[in-house]
């Protein structure tokens, strides 16, 4: 099952990319000066409004057109990551806006500069609030990697379809493949739930 490796690797790469870039974009979306904020808003809204499959196909054909030679795998990771970045950024903004403004004020009043206010006061609280939607985004990414099969990446779904074509055990392979996805995603949501419990510090 080499397909499983491609599924896990593309998921992990996309999730890491989306988490890092999404939080940065979320900061721009929340605290940026007006031009930056509008640009971030545009990115977030456009990428959330276009189907993932279209983004993947567009990236795959588009990158080649502009002479950027990347494999289908990386084109897919870029598209998936870019898509999830928009979701993470929006989740970040939502999480931050649910933190009472007094938190930022108290951090200001003890003289913490902006970066430290983010790091020690806003982010620890935002991350906990972001966790449930972040897990959902991660699930969407894992499921979204099946779309990479359409641009020829031999991930789990395409690998099992190729196996079916060889030995005609269609139903068995679909059920097995489904079970693998359920196993991955169920594990992800359990980890998410556990983290959530671990980071609960207030009932407010």
């Amino acid at each position: 099952m080499s397909g499983l490796g491609a599924t896990l690797l593309s998921s992990a790469l996309s999730i890491v990319m989306a988490t890092v870039l999404g939080v940065l974009l979320g900061v721009a979306l929340t605290y940026g000066w007006i031009g930056l904020r509008l640009a971030a808003r545009l990115y977030v809204d456009v990428l959330r409004g276009i189907p993932l499959l279209v983004l993947i196909l567009f990236t795959y054909y588009g990158l080649a057109l502009f002479g950027v030679n990347v494999s289908a795998f990386w084109a897919g990771v870029i598209a998936l990551g870019g898509f999830a970045t928009a979701h993470v950024a929006e989740n970040f903004r939502g999480a931050v806006s649910s933190i009472p403004s007094g938190q930022m004020e108290a951090a200001k009043s003890i003289g913490l500069p902006f970066v430290n206010r983010l790091r020690y006061v806003v982010l620890p609280q935002a991350f906990r609030r972001m966790l449930p939607p972040w897990v959902n985004t991660a699930l969407e990414i894992v499921k979204g990697t099946t779309l990479l099969s359409i641009i020829g990446v031999v991930e789990l779904l395409l690998a099992s379809q190729q196996a079916m074509a060889r030995n005609y055990m269609i139903i068995d392979f679909y059920l097995f493949t489904g079970l693998v996805y359920v196993a991955i995603n169920f594990t992800l949501s359990r980890i998410g739930a556990r983290l959530e419990r671990r980071f609960t510090f207030a009932r407010s």
Binding site: G49, L57, F58, V142, Y174, G178
Partner: protein, 222 residues
């Protein structure tokens, strides 16, 4: 090759094709939402039922669907069901079936949350005026729940519309399929995908704006 020369005539020449594709996608989304809502509503009541086996079964359905990729479900119904002797569905029906099953699980969660959030007083008041159980649901609980869940229903319609792009994988000629055809036949990569992206984006926004009007109309209840 940064000096790409746009040739939008491929789009204008295919305008009718694209329009049909867009409408087909919308139709698929609406049909799936309708069936999905029906499944979701029944499933939500089942989920809240006192019969543990029933609510457990629905829980498994919802959790499974949350974990299984839509494309896998589509392929399973399209390639797998015939193996089991189910051959009466064409690709359109297969796709609507897959998307409805998918939507049903998400709508089940929406409706369950909606049903649980209805204040107990409404039910008690409707008991007090002597409504029978099904009348309480029909005239009090469901209308209130519908208003509470309307924003979620809108969001689901938009994401279902975006999900119709997956129908391209079984050659249903909706927008993504159309864009791919144009891309393949003319090599006008940018025109094809920019147009498809813009159409999805505009339609999603149009749906959002239209449904916000509906929400505003029914927002009387808080």
């Amino acid at each position: 090759m940064i000096d790409y020369h746009f040739d939008w005539t491929v789009i204008t020449r295919n305008a009718g094709f694209l329009a049909d594709a867009l409408l087909l996608g919308l139709g698929l989304a609406v049909a799936s939402l309708a069936i999905g809502c029906l499944i979701g509503l029944l499933a939500a009541y089942a989920r809240l039922s006192r019969w543990r086996l029933l609510s457990g079964a629905v829980w498994i359905y919802v959790e499974l669907i949350r974990c299984i990729p839509l494309l896998l479900l589509i392929f399973f119904l399209y390639f797998g069901l015939p193996e089991l002797g189910v051959r009466f569905l064409d690709k359109f029906e297969t796709f609507v079936a897959a998307l409805s099953i998918y939507a049903g699980a998400y709508m089940c969660e929406v409706f369950r949350a909606g049903l649980e959030s209805i204040p107990r007083q409404y039910v008690e008041a409707s008991k007090a005026i002597g409504l029978r159980p099904w009348q309480r649901q029909r005239y009090v609980v469901l209308p209130v729940m519908f208003r509470i869940t309307l924003p979620s229903i809108s969001n689901n319609l938009i994401s279902l519309f975006k999900d119709t792009s997956l129908a391209a994988a079984i050659a249903v000629p909706e927008l993504t399929f159309a864009a791919r055809q144009i891309n393949a036949n003319t090599f006008r990569v940018m025109e094809a995908w920019l147009t498809a992206s813009a159409l999805y984006l505009l339609t999603a926004y149009a749906i959002a704006i239209a449904l916000r009007q509906v929400e505003r109309r029914y927002a009387a209840i808080r």
